[in-house]
Amino acid sequence: GESVGLHLPTLSVQEGDNSIINCAYSNSASDYFIWYKQESGKGPQFIIDIRSNMDKRQGQRVTVLLNKTVKHLSLQIAATQPGDSAVYFCAEGRGNQFYFGTGTSLTVIP
């Protein structure tokens, strides 16, 4: 099977600080990468995606960086808020197949 993993299972940050969540992937043939946020008891919510021909993409308060050399993906959240507390996981996609990591739990300390 494929390996899509996260470096840290938990992350705690102070409200207002920036958060960085990391993800490693193993297949250089992946076409796109996606970040999801999952709050307790809810389904995963799409945050941002990036195609393999890009190395950076920005959204509202979020930035995704893709380093294909080391097969590394990161999600940066600016000015983290209590509402950002959730599990974040990455996914890689190839054709119609998606492979998901197990997630990092982000806790925002007020």
Binding site: D31, N96, F100
Partner: protein, 112 residues
């Protein structure tokens, strides 16, 4: 916004019962998926469907079947529920060729 609706959020079923989990999407997406999510294991694909009446096995199809009679609806069927099928089930949909899949809110199934 994409809307993927799973009609049952919480179910409790007995071992051996037949269970239906329904999913509807309103974006005319060709592809639909069923995953289960268990602690520490992430999302595992059960079945997916490219289009109406088409289905493909995922990584863990044993004990499950699916039905896609209409484009907007994808049903997951547990023919004879077992306790090891206690899990959270997530439906997702995607436009053909798109880079992102969208999830429903999940169905928590407990088999006793």
């Amino acid at each position: 916004d994409v809307k993927v609706t799973q009609s049952s959020r919480y179910l409790v079923k007995r071992t051996g019962e037949k269970v239906f989990l329904e999913c509807v999407q309103d974006m005319d997406h060709e592809n639909m998926f069923w995953y289960r999510q268990d602690p520490g294991l992430g999302l595992r694909l059960i079945y997916f469907s490219y289009d109406v009446k088409m289905k493909e096995k995922g990584d863990i199809p044993e004990g499950y079947s699916v039905s896609r009679e209409k484009k907007e609806r994808f049903s997951l069927i547990l023919e004879s529920a077992s306790t090891n099928q206690t899990s959270m089930y997530l439906c997702a949909s995607r436009a053909q060729g798109a880079s992102t899949i969208y999830f429903g809110e999940g169905s928590w199934l407990t088999v006793v």
